[in-house]
Amino acid sequence: MHKLLLATAAILFATTPIPTPTRPSPDRGGLSVAALERLKQLPGGLAALPAASFPVTPVREAKIRLGHDLFFDVRLSMDNSMSCATCHAPEHAFADGRRYPSGFRGKTLRRNSPTVLNAAYTVPQFWDGRATGLEAQATMPIMSNDEMNMGSEDLVVRRLEEDASYPAAFRQVYGSRPNLKLVGDAVAAFEQTLVTPDSPFDRYARGDRAALDDRQKRGLLLFVGKAACTQCHSGPNFTDGGFYNLGVDSADDGRYEVTKNAADRGAFKTPTLRNVALTAPYLHDGSMATLEEVVDFYNRGGGAHPGKSSRIFELDLTPAERTDLVAFLRALTGTMPRFAEKR
């Protein structure tokens, strides 16, 4: 009984509202170029593009040459009109410069053509990630009815055997007749050479503090900080290989088509930002013509389409900050790969 005794001692009442200041302006210090340059490594895993790790053997040289020839060969399309380079053209930084690519017999395809440059550094391929690795990716447009439309592996082999140089090259590299899988392997070997080191950013990341100007450095600070780009555009190739819905108004289900997971509806792969100044227009639907438009889009917290990722939010960037961010993006243009277009 006494354990449950409820004390009835007098309770004195006193209400004292004490207002507390809410959002004061802090010391502006903290994030500065000087602080950034003291860091041992850049935030977000940003780094210079690592060197390719393949030993250059005579067989590999021959494989790259074979892949090169296949990449530019229109015989890999049903009506001999398209090659890989039709939508991944060297003069357009290995994209095509259009909103939507033109496929078999001029059919308008539904997604913007991504650059092949540095694709070797990212595992998932296509905007929806339906291929894993370059080898698997390379043969899919060749066989797609909407694209190169070869229809069957037999036709691919027949076309390649029409030209005596291909059987010889396949024998030299693979000790075998041509087949579709080997076509993917050879094209991938060529694509692995399509890398662009030595952008101003790469030189900066390797320690050349003069490689970026002040605007670009301020843009880098925004990229890893206030603009929070490195949430997704992280690592040496400026992509986490993930899939996100930006709220872009689109009927395209994106990653959902591959996973059938409701959370992936409207999500598309984080593209690399290397050479982004050369690969307009932007987004999976090519709906933005300029980098300024893209930065404005992110600044206002993306689009209004359902399912938007929580990583997309209003950034509160000033006009000067938006200009700095674009200046940094333009510093991601590297040295274009050198190769002979025709044997």
Binding site: H2, K3, A10, I11
Partner: protein
């Protein structure tokens, strides 16, 4: 005689530990935390952690005992800052990147509103209480258990910093109820 005195003192000591009651009650006016002020034992809990994750503070609300250290590890692929201009505690931990952590000891009781200077959507509220005799009141009801018998001030605080105070006497056994 001396033996008997020691015996009495020992009994008093043991019973002062046993003479403890609970403070319970309801706090319907939007209060976040209630705590007791008065002659109470002080002990500082081990450090706690508020992470920066997905461009948010996680958790975004914490009750900290005066003297306790709070770590602010950055788990994001984005640089963050931690600052507060609150009267209770002003701080600016600077900007730091993933894998790094900075920490602060909160010594004054009261409300501390934390922000990230870089990301406006990031904020967290810390309420610093003077001792371990406190309870989270956000659900509208609270219980502070094992309070030594005696008279105290029971303080309730909202997340806007306003507070309400009642004087209470905690019984040696049982509980006392208070309503805010």
């Amino acid at each position: 005689m001396i033996n008997r005195m020691w015996f009495v003192m020992a009994v008093l000591l043991v019973s002062s530990v046993a003479f403890a009651g609970d403070v319970t009650g309801s706090a319907s006016g939007g209060y976040a935390v209630v705590w007791l002020e008065g002659a109470l034992p002080r002990s500082v809990p081990p450090p706690m952690s508020i992470a920066q994750r997905d461009v948010r503070f996680a958790p975004d609300f914490a009750i900290v005992v005066a003297g306790q250290r709070v770590e602010f590890p950055n788990d994001d692929n984005v640089a963050h800052n931690v600052y507060s201009g609150s009267a209770t505690k002003q701080l600016n931990l600077g900007v730091y990147e993933k894998g790094e952590s900075r920490s602060v000891v909160f010594d004054q009781p009261g409300l501390v509103q934390l922000h990230c200077w870089l990301h406006k959507r990031m904020s967290a509220d810390i309420i610093v209480v003077p001792n371990r005799f406190y309870a989270d009141a956000r659900a509208g009801a609270f219980r502070i258990a094992g309070v030594p018998a005696g008279s105290y001030r029971l303080v309730a605080m909202r997340l806007d910093g306003t507070r309400n105070i009642k004087k209470i006497i905690v019984p040696a056994t049982g509980e006392i109820a208070a309503a805010f």
